[in-house]
Symmetry: C2
Subunit: 121 residues, 2 copies
């Protein structure tokens, strides 16, 4: 059983989380067998530590973190690896992988370009 | 002729702009007849004012701004409309529309969910 963490920046307004909740709900609806948790760097709960704890408590064999950031800045290049390093020590039996950011995925860049062109055609 | 602005947050590291440059290049390659400019709220040039000025100088009939933000926070709900209000006064002959954020587009949420599931299957 593979656990999924959808990791986003967070903001003061809790409504900011809605797009990420919508992605989580779509993932869950399509493949209910994969436990999926949201996690936020700041402002909105849960933090990454708590999301990983919840998945580990469900007995997942591995966890993949998907950074739902348009581009990989300092939060992804510095903060995230540091947090994950600590989490690996806390959960040595659960391999934790980090995926690339949304803006580094060619098919997502193509989907965004398609959306842009549909908006002006 | 419809002008496109791809509007992103910006970051101290200029390499942060790469995903947005990649989207711009895809848009341009697919439909070279649409003038397309990047614009950043902070840190990276050009700002929105300069991008709109460039498009207006090319004689576009209208401009659509696409906020390449995962979720609409204060920058999109407050800063962007304020900047665009001023730009509309500066360029009264060029209608300027603002599109929704990436995370409010159902087909992009679906594309992200698909990418997530491909990463754990």
């Amino acid at each position: 059983m593979h656990g999924i963490v959808l990791f986003a920046h967070g903001a003061r307004d809790p409504a900011w989380a809605r797009p990420f909740e919508a992605i989580r709900d779509r993932v869950r609806a399509r493949r209910p067998e994969f436990p999926v948790e949201l996690a936020f760097l700041d402002f909105i709960a849960p933090k990454l530590e708590e999301a990983v704890e919840r998945l580990a408590a469900k007995g997942v064999a591995a966890i993949t973190i998907f950074p739902l950031f348009m581009a990989p800045g300092g939060h992804i290049r510095n903060d995230l690896p540091r947090i994950v390093e600590d989490l690996r020590k806390l959960h040595p039996g659960v391999p934790i992988a980090i995926q690339t950011a949304v803006g580094e995925v060619p098919e997502l860049l193509e989907a965004i370009a398609t959306w842009v062109l549909q908006g002006v055609d």
